[in-house]
Symmetry: D2
Subunit: 141 residues, 4 copies
């Protein structure tokens, strides 16, 4: 198994374990070592009190891509901190894409950059996540 | 109507508009000028691929309290940026509480601090949010 | 020695160790358990290319107050992550105040909120810092 | 003048305006549209109370590269928010490099990712900055 195949296998296993609410509308599109791409099919049920996509839905999408990327080498990792910038509103019915890339790994820490884009290519959110490795694998292989 | 009654009315109206997915499990407990408290009744459907509460569920809770607090004076505001620190995992079945407090308002910007706690009082997450005022009311009164 | 006296002794020792560039213009005003207040006497040498106070000077002030607060119980701690919001420019010649307060301590992590204010009381910056305890004291007592 | 020559001219002009404290030890190495690279020659005067490089020095370096990158198209911009993760300590005497890259521009906002590395290539800090455009040029050309 190559490292990219391993990344896909880990992300697929994590995706299969997610609860139906946490994973609603999400599709795993790609996973490689240090990388993941996830799509979210948005619905009117995901709107906030202003009638735009809830920040929580955008965060959940980006955070999921971050999780697959930081666990991609089958070293279990959890989010320690995230900073997210909201650049343009999300719309109900639109499919959003989140792409997570590794910025660095140092000791037990990792930093990942995630960009969320809309169907027209505009950037909806930019996200920087700090993960902490737990010292155990995700999957027993 | 006092400013605290106004805050409750605005938060209630925003709560009523939220989609069923975005607002799942949430209860508005208190809203005052520059302040809101919201509870989340967690379920197994909200777990992530590691079997703990999805970061997106914790974020959605905190972000909702932030939204009610930063709109509490009936001046419409949206989130521009959020930093969230995850301090201890959330558990399925537990009720989490988010309490949002105003740190400052300067020009069109506001900063809010939100703390998410578990039933045993442990801190699950600490959140700092930057909002931007839109120059229009939430409710036409 | 009370816990507040210990906090003062730790902060004073840290202050004395700081290099002359890092500590330029800084005065330790107060330190208690989980709390510190530091002043910065700004100078024209601290301006950026736009002619306002450099973000690095504002950050250094806030970060110093954060450091004294998170080390205040004589448990050595270092900054892991910081989010800072710049709300209004700093002016040369003005004395800025940074006040750091503990939000939570969970395991080896701590979260602190720091507010930087100008002489007229306006909020210049809001800062949330995540610290990690190193498992050793700052001072051998 | 190409857009990359303009970026160099703007960064050079900003560099020339910086105060001697704010700019101590900094060298502008490269500036292109949406990009800048800056070096910091660290000194013992930049150490903190733990004897490692002060977080304020690392932030100042990264923030300076961010400033040159977000002003690189001669549209004046200021920092609105920054999140910085500290991954490994900086050492006195070492030259650090900060490289700032544009993640996105939407309306009046820009997001930039900055990585700070040590002489041995390790990542010292990862930084995500949100800038706001002011609607005027940096240089009258």
């Amino acid at each position: 198994m190559t490292e990219d195949e391993l990344a896909w296998q880990v992300a697929s296993a994590m995706r299969a374990q997610e609860g139906s609410h946490a994973g609603a509308g999400l599709t795993l599109q790609a996973a490689r070592a240090g990388y993941a791409r996830v799509a979210l099919a948005t619905t009117p049920e995901m709107l906030n009190g202003h009638g735009t996509l809830h920040g929580g839905a955008i965060f959940t999408l980006a955070d999921t891509a971050f999780a697959y990327a930081c666990n991609s080498r089958n070293e279990a990792a959890v989010a320690s901190q995230v900073s997210i910038v909201f650049l343009s509103p999300g719309r109900a019915g639109e499919t959003l894409l989140a792409e997570a890339k590794e910025v660095s790994r140092e000791g037990r820490s990792g930093v990942y950059q995630v960009t969320v884009t809309g169907e027209d290519g505009r950037v909806v959110a930019a996200f920087q996540g700090l993960s902490r490795f737990l010292g155990r694998p995700v999957l027993a292989l």
